[in-house]
Amino acid sequence: MAEQEPESTITESVQPEIPTRRVKRIMKLDKDINKVNAEALVVITHATEFFLQFLAEKSALVALEKKRKTIKLEHLRVAVKRHQPTSDFLLDSLPMPAQPSDQQLLKDRAKSRANKKPVPVGTRKIDAFFQKFT
């Protein structure tokens, strides 16, 4: 019974959804790559489909956990982090976290600066203390 199942899966997915020509072009971007035979191209194309499905599925799970209807970049990031092999090669390539958080950081800093009271003249600064003793 188990042996029959893979056969049907194979015949169903004989034609890759992704154009193999594009996959080949992407492979060739690496100058170290010499030749790739037809079967290798087909295998890699299918593997890529699996990978994409995996990413989509896991990202959707994260979005669901966070009770969001739209899958966003941060959900993808969490999904990548959770799978070690993927995280190893992909985490650093993901775009930096959304800019609003950086803007918030700048806003917070500006606020704290505005709140600071001017120090009285002649007050020793803590840095001076450390410079003396280090």
Binding site: P6, E17, I18, I26, N34, I44, L55, A56, T70, Q84
Partner: protein, 134 residues
């Protein structure tokens, strides 16, 4: 990021070469996700990038293996090996079965071609002029 309009135009062309078409990416994601799932544009575009990274990563590994073994052409087994080595054994197993099936089919096709070619070679060249006209 890029100020020069010429540079950005050439990088656009490059993007088409180094990314899979977003339509295909979107379609594959839709197949696996529930119907009401939504994906942000940013997430979809990032998936595009992730997938290209995956292709480069797996191909690179397979290529290294070939180089070490002094072979110039990457074959299906090399790709399966790379997938396993990089931690994607979930893909490696079904793809190995697929590869065997693929080789079977291709082998039959190649044998058929060989048979027809050898038939042609056995016929005397004059036979062409003797062919009946319909």
């Amino acid at each position: 990021m890029v100020d020069n309009s010429e540079a950005s135009a050439s990088s656009d062309i490059k993007e088409q070469d180094r990314l899979l078409p977003i339509a295909n990416v979107g379609r594959i994601m839709k197949q696996i996700l529930p119907q009401n799932a939504k994906i942000s544009k940013e997430a979809k575009e990032t998936m595009q990038e992730c997938v290209s990274e995956f292709i480069g990563f797996v191909t690179g590994e397979a290529s290294d293996k070939c180089r070490k073994e002094r072979r110039k052409t990457i074959n299906g087994d090399d790709v399966c090996w790379a997938l396993e080595t990089l931690g994607f054994d979930d893909y490696a197993e079904p793809l190995k079965r697929y590869l065997n099936k693929y080789r079977e089919i291709e082998g039959d096709r190649a044998n058929q071609n060989k048979a027809s070619i050898s038939e042609e070679m056995e016929e005397p060249p004059l036979n062409r002029s003797n062919q009946p006209k319909y």
